[in-house]
């Protein structure tokens, strides 16, 4: 489904490595099957030729990796960024989390990424190959063949894509897109319409599935603390496993507060959750409220913007109004 071919990216990466413009390339590495790509650092051109992939399974966002990788890098790192990844990229720059001079960013258009779990709901287990053409063609070891319309198996965040525009890059390959009108707040509105008891039951049910692997936090480009309080034995709230239903919710609510105003709605947290908890709904509620209370704000839209929650103005909504449920 992707319009830009892998070969263009491979050629670009190899030529930049060979010319010494960059010393390494952040890209997607081919997996064991056709869908299990791994984010990788490439430094060898044959490795790129053989193992670099760009297809409908390249959901992984590299922006956060730049925090660690730029620290050790001798020269520049080439990174490929999808539109949504560029918002994380900017947000990290706003927070001074990596050295922009050490990065060469290439923006690439994205037609949306598919969700392997949705594919498996159609095909069942036993996938032997997946071909991402106009249709997604899946073959199984049981001899079945499925032709699936990619739009039917798009990941949640891509169904509700907020922007096809790249807000940061050194070079763009392919066409630039636009900021989109998405329906991403519809689910939040549904939650708001519930009674408090129903909403509590909804979140209790979802968060009770959490195994506290912290993958949501570890992948999150807004979560770049060197030592998270929940990992720090000295913090007094270190929390390797939730002991009760209060602790199940505490971690997520604290985390949502901590990324409020900084979360770009990249969707990585929901993508990686092994328990399929719709974490994006928590973050989107904050985004929706911030938009309502302080005027529309998109984290990562530009470098250096002051997030509403850390930017006092005399027009700010009064706490009492928020409590009473009035918008500004």
């Amino acid at each position: 489904m992707q319009k830009i071919s892998r070969d263009i990216l491979v050629e670009k990466a190899i030529s930049m490595l060979e010319n010494g413009d960059v010393c390494s390339v952040l890209g997607w590495r081919k997996g064991e099957f056709d869908y299990d790509i791994t984010p990788a650092v490439f430094t060898d051109k044959d490795d790129i030729k053989n193992n670099f992939v760009w297809n409908d399974f390249c959901g992984a966002n590299f922006s956060k990796y730049l925090v660690q990788k730029t620290r050790k890098a001798e020269g520049k790192i080439l990174v490929f960024l999808k539109p949504c990844d560029t918002y994380s990229f900017n947000q990290l720059l706003t927070e001074h989390r990596f050295d922009r001079e050490k990065v060469y960013a290439i923006g690439i258009p994205c037609e949306g990424m598919v969700d392997i779990n949705k594919i498996k709901e159609i095909t069942g287990d036993g996938i032997s190959s997946i071909d991402c053409g106009d249709k997604i063609t899946v073959n199984t070891i049981y001899g079945d063949k499925f032709d699936i319309d990619a739009t039917n198996v798009l990941s949640e965040r891509c169904i509700n894509c907020k922007s096809k525009k790249h807000v940061a890059y050194d070079e763009l390959i392919g066409d630039e897109g636009e900021v989109l009108e998405s329906n991403r707040f519809d689910e939040v509105t549904k939650l708001e319409q519930m009674t408090p008891d129903e909403r509590f039951a909804f979140w209790q049910n979802e968060l009770s599935k959490c195994i506290r692997c912290n993958a949501c936090r570890d992948i999150c480009p807004a979560c770049t603390c060197e030592k998270c309080v929940f990992d720090n034995p000295k913090s007094g709230v270190e929390n390797k496993a939730a002991a009760n239903s209060f602790e199940e919710k505490m971690f997520h609510i604290i985390r949502a507060f901590h990324v409020a105003g900084r979360c770009t709605d990249c969707g990585e947290c929901s993508r990686v959750c092994p328990q399929h908890i719709p974490l994006h709904l928590l973050n989107r509620k904050f985004i929706k409220d911030i938009d309502g209370f302080y005027g529309e704000y998109q984290a990562g839209d530009e470098v250096g913007s002051r997030a509403p929650l850390v930017n006092y103005t005399t027009e700010d909504i009064e706490a009492a109004d928020i409590f009473e449920g009035r918008d500004n």
């Binding site: 997996g31 064991e32 099957f33 299990d36 790509i37 791994t38 984010p39 990788a40 650092v41 992984a60 990796y65 709901e121 069942g124 287990d125 036993g126 996938i127 032997s128 070891i141 049981y142 049910n205 599935k209 195994i211 506290r212 692997c213 912290n214 993958a215 570890d218 992948i219 030592k227 990992d231 034995p233 390797k240 496993a241 939730a242 002991a243 993508r271 990686v272 092994p274 328990q275 399929h276």
Partner: protein
């Protein structure tokens, strides 16, 4: 061998429930299988396996161990252990059944872990043979026969019937009570042969352990590939939490104002404070932590346990790792068997 119709399964569960709680894989609200208590109306899932393994029953993620009451200079230690309920778990796959051979060798050797042992004594495992394995399955790499799993009782499911066979005293005692009809094993043999053919076609069928095992530490420990393999690992520990054989835990204390509770919870070698001691941490980088997980399963465990590997090929870490890095990729890269 005994036989019953599929329709009589609820009656059988009702019968077993008179003396023990029955758990079985049931679809949750997003269609993922989770071990759930049987009650009238609860339906056995069609999923191949549960997202989380059966380990959680015997070795829960969090568990209180003891309590301390502190008054002045006196500390009173309270033993809070209670006898486990009798329970039966139905529908366990071959890989997960084998995981108990691995866990038992850790928890049941002296000094025996009484918390785990208590549940092992009270639990009966009824396994079910696989007929539609996933591309992520590689139990056969570890010599596990998915067509004929171990467990106290083995069950084979065909279109319309279930076949039962007891493997242990515990299993026999339970099966005797169910009064099922005796039958020959021709239907079961036919199914086994069919599944065995499918197992051969699995994409990971040729994966071998030949370059791993006891005595390989020196050869494998410093391999440069560990760095590339672990390059993008998040250190999230999802792989260890969904793994049926990962067994590490942390013991901590919690002061609830009224006294102190000592509890344990799962730990992960992927975490930065894993086995942290007074002198500090012995694995400072993610490469070292990552290496530990795989060296433990593929080298250290077999070295200390007569060659038995610490992985059962269930494929959970393949399906669940956020960056799709896993034991198969490690084995192919480090063991060089592609």
């Amino acid at each position: 061998m005994f036989k019953c119709s599929i329709d009589s399964l609820d009656k059988i569960f009702a019968e077993i429930s008179k003396n023990a709680t029955v758990y079985l894989p049931v679809d949750n609200d997003d269609g993922k299988a989770v071990y759930t208590k049987w009650e009238n109306g609860v339906k056995w899932s069609n999923e191949l396996n549960t997202v989380k393994s059966l380990k959680d029953f015997f070795f829960p993620q969090v568990e209180n161990l003891m309590e301390f009451k502190v008054e002045g200079k006196n500390i009173e230690i309270k033993d809070i252990r209670t006898e486990s309920e009798d329970f039966v778990v139905f529908g366990v796959r071959a890989c997960d059944v084998r995981s108990f051979d691995i866990l038992d060798r850790v928890f049941l050797v002296e000094p025996c872990d009484s918390y785990y042992a208590n549940r092992r004594e009270h639990g009966v495992i009824i396994s079910v043979a696989c007929t539609r394995p996933s591309e992520t399955c590689f139990c056969n790499t570890f010599g596990i026969d998915a067509t004929s799993p171990n467990g106290d009782i083995t069950v084979w499911k065909t279109e319309d019937a279930l076949y039962w066979n007891a493997n242990t005293e515990k299993g026999k005692a339970l099966l005797d009570k169910l009064n099922l009809d005796e039958c020959d094993d021709s239907a079961v043999n036919e199914q086994k042969a069919k599944t065995a053919e499918i197992m051969k076609r699995l994409p990971l069928a040729s994966l071998t352990t030949e370059n791993f095992g006891g005595g390989k530490t020196d050869e494998l420990f410093n391999r440069p590939e560990w760095k590339t393999l672990s390059e993008s690992c998040l250190g999230c520990g999802t792989c260890t939490f969904v793994c049926p054989t990962c067994q590490c835990y942390d013991i901590k204390e919690f002061n609830n104002g009224n006294g102190v509770i000592r509890f344990r919870c799962w730990d992960s070698c992927m975490y930065s404070d894993f086995t942290k001691m007074a002198h500090g941490n012995n694995r400072l980088s993610q490469v070292e932590r990552f290496r530990q997980r795989f060296m433990h399963k593929l080298v250290y465990y077999p070295e200390n346990n007569e060659g038995i590997f610490g992985c059962v090929g269930c494929g959970r870490c393949l399906a669940k790792c956020p960056i799709s890095m896993n034991i198969v990729k490690v084995m192919k890269t480090i063991g060089g068997n592609d």
